[in-house]
């Protein structure tokens, strides 16, 4: 039997390097409604999706310094959907003038045996949280407004406690590497959400 033509072979890693462009901000609970109204007006006209997710962050510690981090996410509203495994690289420190945080991003779907699999591989769960909120879309851009909650008993999502009195607002775009016009569009969209939310490039290392 002949080998299938090259074009239908699966794309192995390294072919398309997807980068995530990210801007983050927050909005207080009392101003959430006005933010949702504004987003509903600005974004593509579909009913805003609400979601409730449970995210587990796995670490693989090697002998070197930085552990390898993987994020596994599952939907609490749709328990039969596959799990979502994501790798986020270090933020690129190239251009100071770039308006958004850029980091390498790899997304895969996984079956429900993902936590066990990761444990077998040697990963250990570092922390978990629940995120509940709304998802908006505008073209390539994705706007997520979510409330993060701490999970007291691992695996038990019944009693969660909100981390703060604010909702986290994230504006992200998944694009191949090298497209810098994306951050321009993101910045102009972020302008439209001021003064309700200030979306900006927040370097997580600065907050450690």
């Amino acid at each position: 039997m002949e080998a299938p033509p090259v074009t239908v072979m699966p794309v192995t890693g390294g072919a398309i390097n997807m980068m995530e462009y990210l801007l983050q901000g927050s909005v207080l609970d009392q101003s959430l409604e006005s933010l949702l109204h504004r987003l509903r007006g600005l974004c593509d006209d579909m009913e805003p999706e609400s979601f409730a997710d449970h995210e587990l962050v796995y670490l693989l510690r090697g002998q070197q310094g930085n552990p390898f981090i993987l994020r596994a996410r599952r939907s609490l509203l749709k328990p039969t959907s596959p799990w979502h495994l994501r790798y986020l690289g270090q933020p690129e420190v190239g251009d100071k003038s770039r308006h958004a945080l850029v980091r390498n991003c790899v997304d895969v779907a996984a079956s429900h045996s993902l936590p066990d699999f990761l444990n077998e591989m040697g990963f250990r769960m570092d922390h978990e949280f629940a995120a509940k909120g709304h998802l908006f879309r505008k073209g390539q851009m994705k706007i997520v407004v979510s409330k993060l909650s701490r999970v007291h008993v691992p695996g038990n999502l019944e009693n969660t406690e909100p981390l703060s009195l604010s909702y986290l607002v994230e504006l992200s775009v998944l694009a191949p590497a090298g497209q810098d016009t994306v951050s321009e569009d993101m910045k102009s969209f972020a302008e439209q959400l001021k003064p309700l939310v200030h979306l900006e490039k927040i370097d997580p290392k600065r907050l450690m």
Binding site: Q24, V108, F129, P154, L163, H198, P204
Partner: protein, 289 residues
């Protein structure tokens, strides 16, 4: 009613004799009159043209004519009548009421030049056409109607009170809208300052939580750091992270023994690093989030 001024205009300026006002003023007035008459003639010609085309349309294309285009034509006519009115009201135009047109010569013979001028509509300048073309008063019926309308207009006078209140309301509103923005701005800016819509400390706390799990680890006691105190959060973040790793390492020990992995026994807490985790990304999948 189209009146032709080109024919034998004999101007009798009332109230201004040649002797008293002097030549200059008379010349100036004549020039003004000429100019105003010229412009009036051109405007009337425009009106005539649009009327012509409208009539043609109504007669020939009536089955294809739509109501909006009829309205357009009417609007055009009304606009042109408006400009004529404005012209007549213009200060530069002398008052035509003081001018009289007197025919000098009437003849029942056909006048070729007149016929050419009027596009064959007035071939003879005779006794019959003079009352129609040189009339200065409207028809008796029309005059009656006009008198009725003006009487009614005068009668509506007492309703002026309503008009006045409406005017007052409108002017109030306009005043409020046009007022300098300082008054309004001070109120609204004060309100806005009292109700900020986001808290920077919260933003940092949330981003840190998502970024690397600050305050989220299962080993921390719940309800620890309040989101408002960034300073304290920063200083306590250091030791807590270390706490986490140590506790995490200690907690992993019991979990390890039950696993079937390639772990080296006797090295508690140390993750095997010889497992090469090579995650290939299959980007051609529909699960992109």
């Amino acid at each position: 009613m189209i009146v032709y001024f080109r024919l034998a205009i004999f101007v009798v300026p009332i109230g201004c004799t040649v002797l008293s006002c002097g030549r200059n003023m008379q010349q100036r007035e004549e020039k003004q009159l000429d100019a105003s008459v010229e412009s009036l003639v051109t405007r009337v010609a425009h009106l005539k043209g649009s009327l012509q085309s409208f009539i043609y349309k109504l007669e020939n294309e009536y089955d294809r004519l739509t109501w909006p285009s009829v309205l357009d034509n009417f609007a055009l006519l009304s606009g042109q009548l408006n400009t004529i009115n404005k012209l007549l009201r213009n200060e530069k135009t002398p008052s035509y009421k003081s001018l009289v047109i007197i025919p000098l010569l009437l003849s029942p013979d056909r006048d070729e030049e007149l016929a050419k001028l009027t596009e064959q509509r007035v071939p003879v300048f005779s006794h019959e056409i003079v009352p129609d073309h040189l009339r200065t008063k409207p028809d008796p019926e029309v005059e009656e109607q006009e008198k009725q309308l003006s009487a009614e207009a005068a009668r509506i006078g007492p309703e002026a009170a309503q008009i006045q209140t409406l005017n007052k309301l409108c002017s109030n509103l306009l005043e409020k809208l046009n007022n300098p923005r300082d008054d309004r701005d001070s109120e609204t800016s004060a309100l806005r300052q009292n109700k900020p819509s986001f808290n920077l400390a919260d933003t940092n706390a949330l981003v840190a939580a998502v970024g690397f799990g600050k305050n989220l680890s299962k080993c921390r006691p719940p309800g620890s750091v309040a989101p408002g105190h960034t300073g304290q959060a920063m200083t306590s973040a250091g030791p807590t992270m270390q706490q986490v790793t140590i506790a995490g390492a200690a907690g992993h020990q019991p979990g390890m023994s039950g696993q079937v992995t390639q772990q080296q026994p006797g090295q508690p807490g140390k993750m095997p690093s010889n497992i090469k985790t090579n995650i290939k990304s299959a980007s051609m999948h529909p699960y992109n989030r």
